[in-house]
């Protein structure tokens, strides 16, 4: 009897952790909104949060702070969830959407977009023909093309875990080579630098319309899918054969997961640039806290992703204010040592493949 209780107890602990993280997130949101260069009292900030008006403070709180905090919330969850899902479907704790070279593809898309529009020189008259979303659209399209090519190649090899990883590495190198070739031969210094600057993820870049788009796709498709597939990710870990004997097609899971993870990540990346490490650190940290069962791991990982991204962004814009450290740089600075710490601290993933 007491064994059953211990199972219940263990589940209870995991549920408690989840609830604590949710509370922490809800606490961090107003905290992050309260922090910033623009001087204002807490009361004023609260007032403006509930009753937005046309004052500068309202703009600061809504357009300059709350928007990035909400973006961090959604994008952090999507990145962390994608990382967790891909790690399960590939049985590889180091896999992530960026394993598929999404960062190279997005950068390449930006480079191509700039090339077509700028024509190699900085001309003022182009201002009226310039669609502000073109860069994002190109980044997104190139990311998806990248993923499609990888899937196609892996499909020829049976969509096994190993095939997918090898295919991803191969195609990523190709994209990287094309990108560098473009930079070296075709792009002038200004364009190259623009591409480089774009790749520094920056949550301030996203507008309200773009945020709505990301939020809708994430909350309607990406996040529910990952939560729904939790039991299947547990299943996939043991091997393709056990998965098939349970009536689930592992290839199908890998295909769906790759596409949806790519969708969420590509969309986020195309709007805010490249934010790394969240997709590695969040799942790993979550695994250490609530274990490998995806029923708790997936939501915990997503929450950790949101929290880490929010904290990184807030620190990035307050630590050497009034200058901003782009969040992509912050997550690398925070994420890398965190990952090392987590790796040293323990948690054997267990690989018998």
């Amino acid at each position: 009897m007491w064994i059953k209780l211990s199972i219940k107890h263990s589940n209870y602990k995991k549920r408690l952790t989840l609830v604590c993280l949710i509370i922490l997130t809800f606490f961090l949101v107003p905290l992050s909104v309260a922090l910033g260069w623009y001087k204002a009292s807490l009361l004023d900030i609260l007032r403006v949060l509930f009753m937005p008006d046309n004052s500068p403070l309202s703009t600061v709180v809504w357009d300059l702070r709350l928007r990035r905090v909400l973006a961090a919330l959604i994008i952090g969850a999507v990145l962390a969830g994608s990382g967790t899902a891909i790690q399960a479907s590939l049985r590889n704790p180091l896999a992530s959407p960026f394993t598929f070279g999404l960062s190279f593809a997005a950068s390449l898309g930006v480079a191509v977009a700039l090339l077509f529009l700028q024509g190699g020189s900085i001309q003022r008259f182009q201002i009226y023909f310039y669609n502000p979303f073109i860069v994002s659209i190109f980044a997104f399209i190139f990311s998806l093309i990248q993923v499609m090519v990888i899937l196609l190649l892996a499909y020829k090899a049976g969509l096994g875990a190993r095939a997918l990883v090898l295919s991803a590495i191969a195609i990523s190198f190709v994209y990287q080579a094309i990108l560098y070739l473009l930079q070296y031969l075709v792009l002038n210094e200004i364009l190259t630098s623009t591409v480089v600057f774009w790749t520094f993820g920056d949550l301030g870049r996203i507008g309200w319309g773009e945020l709505y788009l990301v939020a809708t796709v994430s909350l309607a498709i990406v996040i529910p899918y990952f939560l729904y597939r939790s039991i299947d990710y547990d299943l996939m870990l043991s091997g393709d054969e056990l998965t098939k004997s349970a009536g689930i097609s592992p290839e199908r899971i890998r295909l769906e997961t790759t596409i949806i993870a790519a969708l969420g990540t590509a969309m986020a990346t195309s709007f805010v640039g490249i934010i790394g490490f969240i997709c590695l650190v969040a799942p790993h940290a979550a695994r250490l806290i609530v274990g490998g069962g995806h029923k708790y791991l997936m939501p915990t990982s997503m929450l950790m992703g949101s929290i880490i991204l929010m904290i990184s962004d807030t620190i990035g814009r307050t630590v050497i204010a009034p200058t901003i450290i782009p969040v992509g740089i912050m997550t690398s600075m925070v994420g890398a040592p965190l990952l090392v710490y987590l790796l040293i601290k323990g948690g054997k993933y267990g690989h018998r493949d």
Binding site: D63, L64, Q123, R124
Partner: protein, 379 residues
């Protein structure tokens, strides 16, 4: 095959290798201590190298940011025998010297790729047999000038006229003096330096003692690619010439680019805003997407937004920076600049530096000196 001695074939190959190696060494040594022209004048370049100048300098190339500009400023383009590829492949717009002399560059052979990060190409330089190579200090940091000197069988002077983005009058004077000596344009150099100093002193006289200074912000400053409105420069050179500080100056004491939090700009509420027209499209896009935050700035509400010409392109376009200073002065202190027409003044400066009036071309490319409130309508 016997292992104790070499076969005939092996011996023949060995002898051939030795002969070839000897011949190459002889040629290399010979070229190194070739008599060439008898040196007479010595010049100390910016790295402290004592360079022996050849007696006759008829063939000159300039490599690295800003070097070709100095040659053009010194009216020595007739000495050029080669040009970097970037000078033509980038187009001429945005570099004052290219806008003036660009067409003549097209006929010159390519002596290297050009660009801030690209190393020089010794073989291409060697092919045009220059008497003198003017090398930028940024290139010298990447590629040892003495080594390049050997590889190109020529003389190299390393020069610079200040850090990127700056307007260092003394640095400019120093560079012009060195090159004036080398290129036999001493008088020209002196005149140009006098001209620049006169402008500096004029601006000083007009603005040094002003007590009422408006709050100023300079946005979207050109720096390594398209920059948003929040990119500014601390100790912005044209403002420095006007003894005026911008709202960014208190956050850093090192001159250089600074990425400001929009909140800080809102907190400061600058009265007058300048936008570098090189990045105008970036700012316009952001404004169209997100007008709310811009329209909280009083400068935008009052339409006090003005465009300046970009001057940071393959090192500082000194002429443009000086022209910008006069325009900015006119906007900030109209009473002290009542007699100045910024457009005419710009052409006066261009004429002095490059012998051509370039303002119209600049205006067509970027918009010119003007109020930008039409583009950024609030409310």
């Amino acid at each position: 095959m016997s292992r104790k001695s070499l076969t005939n074939i092996q011996a023949a190959i060995l002898i051939a290798v030795i002969v070839v190696a000897a011949a190459l060494s002889y040629l290399a040594v010979k070229s190194y201590i070739s008599p060439g022209n008898t040196p007479e004048t010595y010049v100390e370049d910016i790295l402290g190298r004592k360079v022996a100048l050849p007696q006759k300098i008829n063939r000159v190339v300039a490599i690295g940011p800003g070097m070709l500009r100095l040659v053009c400023y010194l009216n020595a383009t007739d000495l050029l025998v080669g040009v970097e590829e970037s000078e033509t492949s980038w187009g001429f717009t945005g570099r004052d010297y290219a806008m003036a002399y660009g067409e003549s560059f097209r006929n010159l052979p390519i002596i290297g790729p050009g660009g801030p990060g690209k190393p020089p190409a010794p073989e291409l330089i060697l092919a045009v047999k220059p008497d003198l190579i003017i090398m930028s200090r940024t290139y010298a940091d990447m590629y040892d000038p003495d080594r390049l000197q050997t590889e190109t069988n020529s003389t190299i002077i390393v020069v610079d006229y200040g850090p990127a983005g700056s307007l260092d009058v003394e640095g400019l004077a120093n560079a012009l003096n060195i090159l004036g000596t080398a290129l036999n344009r001493k008088e020209r150099a002196e005149n140009l330096i006098k001209f620049v100093e006169s402008l500096r002193d004029d601006l000083k006289a007009r603005t040094e003692n002003i007590t009422l200074r408006p709050k100023v912000y300079v946005g979207a400053v050109s720096y390594k690619g398209a920059q948003p409105f929040t990119t500014t420069q601390v100790l912005f050179p044209p403002l420095q010439l006007l003894y005026t500080s911008s709202i960014a100056d208190k956050y850093s004491n090192k001159t250089g680019v600074y990425f400001m939090d929009f909140e800080a700009i809102l907190q400061e509420q600058p009265e007058i805003v300048f936008i570098d027209e090189g990045n105008l499209n970036t700012v316009k896009q952001d404004f169209d997407k997100d007008p709310g935050k811009y329209c909280q700035l009083t400068a935008f509400q009052n339409g006090k937004i003005y465009g300046t010409l970009p001057y940071n392109y393959y090192h500082t376009n000194i002429a443009v920076a000086l022209a910008d200073a006069y325009y900015i002065g006119k906007v900030l202190y109209p009473d002290h600049f009542g007699d100045v027409n910024p457009e005419l003044k710009a052409d006066e400066i261009f004429q002095a530096f490059l012998g051509k009036s370039l303002y119209e071309q600049y205006k067509e490319a970027y918009g010119g000196f003007k109020n930008l409130s039409e583009m950024f309508k609030c409310g």
